[in-house]
């Protein structure tokens, strides 16, 4: 067995995800034990067994033939984390501060995360200005035209 490949990111990731799917199947089988209606058991049980088999085969195959396909690749982690965490933060803040102010958090996070050029006064004004315009536009569309009860 090629040791470096076996320990590589792609190999490990595939193994972990396969194992996770097997676990999901087992958890489903356990959950179905509590169902009162036979009709609601059949399908999840069948599918869970298929999932366990497929994920196990995938797991074993990786052990027999380790490859280094996959991996997180190149890219800057703090940008990815910033993007998602500000979006989550928006969800948490939304019921308290209202939709639009909360949306600004996600927008700012996304903007900073995606900004690879140098900041200059002109692009700060332009980007934030157009961002504000887009948000207000969508907010108006959803809240007042489509009557979605945004907080």
């Amino acid at each position: 067995m090629n040791r470096s490949a076996a320990n590589s990111q792609g190999q490990m990731g595939s193994l972990i995800i396969s194992a996770m799917f097997v676990l999901a199947g087992v958890v489903t089988l356990y959950d179905t034990l509590s169902y009162t209606d036979r009709d609601s058991k059949v399908f999840p049980q069948t599918v869970a067994i298929i999932l366990i088999i497929c994920a196990s085969v995938s797991f074993i195959m990786r052990f027999i033939k380790p490859t280094d396909e996959g991996g997180f690749g190149q890219g800057i982690w703090w940008r990815r984390v910033l993007l998602i965490s500000t979006m989550v933060l928006t969800c948490i803040a939304m019921p308290y501060v209202g939709f639009l102010p909360a949306g600004v958090i996600a927008f700012a996070g996304g903007l900073i995360a995606a900004m690879h050029d140098r900041w200059s006064l002109s692009n700060i004004l332009l980007y934030w200005g157009s961002g504000g315009f887009i948000m207000v536009l969508f907010y108006t569309l959803f809240k007042f035209v489509l009557h979605v009860p945004l907080p």
Partner: protein
């Protein structure tokens, strides 16, 4: 008499309403999370003040436009704007990535107009006989249809069958979360209130398709899509040429779309997937589906647009709406005092025919309107700097997901699925099999359970599952789809070996 109704549909007001409807619908469809159902629901009261025919034309035009609009986000952002456009992402996004986004948008427009026309003409001329298709499809037929759809997972697996199947099975498990549709249990919620409503299809689509794109976009510098130098307009000529060459594909996909559209339990997403699967099965050797093959976009887009006309067939003839937008149109009709159901074509014939002509006019208007909006959509997605594009799309995913059922939990579920989808995709578990499982799982489960109950009650389980002609037909197609590629690959290998020896 027929001419009268055609002329009635052609009044300046109705034409203006059709054009407005198509434009508004296209924009609605292009925004993930903003569905035709939502737009129609809001517009129904507006139509109370109108002539019934005008109101119907407006509603029909919005619906038609929305199904087409779903293609923009699918092609340019890898995110189906509506569930109907799922299979559009398979080839649309790869095309956009290599710089052919303008071509893809134009192709989608031609295919949608063609498919929309086939569906509308079927509605006009063949509605009563075709409505029998809806009735011939019982639980077992739906079950086999979903199995056929799931067989596409194998075709999409890119050489890693076990991972794709595991993803599909996982998607099906996700579909069972929450209160069961046809049985009396609450499943896999682990006591959590958040999960009682389950994983909504649109929520999952936005999460699994759009969020990974955003995560990848922010991580590296550089442009979102490759841009060819000196391309000024949408490549209408090229697109038209490709569409002419693929006329068989367009006709076949439109017929599939119309037929699947008639089935009240299926819908545009299934139609697109079935048509895509058939286009891929009959592909010529040089075509590479999944890597930016124009025929893939044309198959899906013509099929999903054909479901609009097809879906109105059971709605108008039987009073059974095929899709949520159909149901809203049906509700608007009832309030207008039009009696739906079997008597509708004879009793309220003139309104019905004016509506169908309106639908045809809207479909024709989609050609200029679609190309025009498509051009702006493409240009703006290409030229907007990444630093504005990412937060704007991110904001859209949040507001769109929230609006589906006014729920913050749905937004959180969407984000979780997005991160999950991104991580697993990095290791070869693609999003599409999961989404296929999520969409087709409930159809498979309900069909199976109902078929089993009926077969068990009549002591004919085997005949129920394998003895019905339509089921046998679908089963045969499924087997061909699954086995033919393996057989051909074997044959090719053999030929290679013989050549070498």
């Amino acid at each position: 008499m027929e001419l009268d109704q055609f002329l009635a549909a052609l009044t300046p007001l109705n034409l203006a309403l059709a054009l407005f409807g198509v434009l508004a619908g296209t924009i609605v469809g292009s925004i993930p999370g903003l569905t035709a159902t939502m737009a129609l629901a809001v517009l129904v009261p507006v139509t109370f003040a109108m002539e019934p025919a005008s109101a119907l034309i407006l509603l029909g035009a919005i619906y038609t436009g929305a199904i087409y609009g779903g293609a923009y986000a699918a092609i340019l952002l890898n995110t189906p704007g509506t569930p109907s456009a799922i299979a559009t992402t398979f080839d649309g996004y790869p095309m956009a990535k290599r710089g052919d986004g303008d071509l893809a948008v134009a192709l989608a427009c031609f295919a949608s107009v063609f498919g929309g026309m086939v569906g509308a003409l079927a509605l006009l001329f063949l509605a009563p006989p075709l409505s029998k298709v809806a009735l011939a499809f019982g639980p077992i037929e739906y079950f086999w249809l979903s199995v056929f759809g799931l067989s596409l997972i194998a075709a999409l697996s890119n050489g890693n069958l076990m991972k794709a199947l595991a993803g599909g099975a996982f998607g099906m498990l996700l579909s069972t979360v929450g209160v069961a549709e046809v049985s009396a249990d609450i499943r896999l919620t682990f006591g959590s209130q958040t999960l009682i409503g389950g994983f909504g299809v649109v929520v999952a689509l936005i999460g699994l398709y759009c969020i990974p794109v955003l995560i990848d976009l922010v991580a590296v510098p550089g442009r979102h899509l490759k841009v060819e130098e000196n391309v000024k307009a949408v490549r209408i000529g090229d697109a038209f040429g490709l569409a002419i060459r693929s006329k068989f594909n367009l006709v076949r996909s439109s017929v599939i779309g119309t037929l699947v559209g008639i089935l009240p339990g299926a819908g545009g997403s299934v139609a697109g997937l079935v048509a895509y699967s058939e286009a891929k099965r009959t592909a010529k050797s040089h075509q590479k589906f999944g890597e930016g093959e124009p025929d893939g976009i044309m198959a899906t887009e013509s099929a999903n647009s054909a479901t609009v006309g097809g879906g109105f067939i059971p709605t108008l003839v039987l009073g059974i709406p095929g899709t949520p937008p159909d149901a809203i149109v049906l509700g608007a009709l009832l309030v207008q005092g039009v009696r739906t159901g079997p008597a509708m074509f004879t009793q309220s014939g003139s309104i019905v025919y004016t509506f169908i002509y309106g639908l045809i006019i809207a479909t024709i208007l989609m050609l200029p309107a679609g190309l025009l909006i498509g051009r702006y959509a493409y240009k703006s997605i290409v030229t907007i700097p990444k630093a504005v594009l990412v937060p704007a799309v991110g904001f859209m995913t949040i507001i769109g997901t929230f609006s589906i059922r006014n729920s913050v939990s749905d937004v959180i579920i969407m984000l979780c699925l997005g991160v999950f989808g991104w991580v697993v995709a990095r290791f070869g578990f693609a999003a599409s099999p999961i989404v296929l499982g999520l969409i087709l799982g409930p159809i498979a489960e309900q069909g199976f359970v109902q078929g089993w109950i009926i077969g068990d009650a009549t002591n004919n389980l085997f005949g129920m599952f394998f003895g019905r002609p339509i089921s046998q037909g679908i089963l045969a197609f499924t087997l061909i789809t699954l086995i033919l590629p393996i057989y051909l690959a074997r044959k090719k290998n053999k030929a290679h070996v013989e050549l070498e020896s």
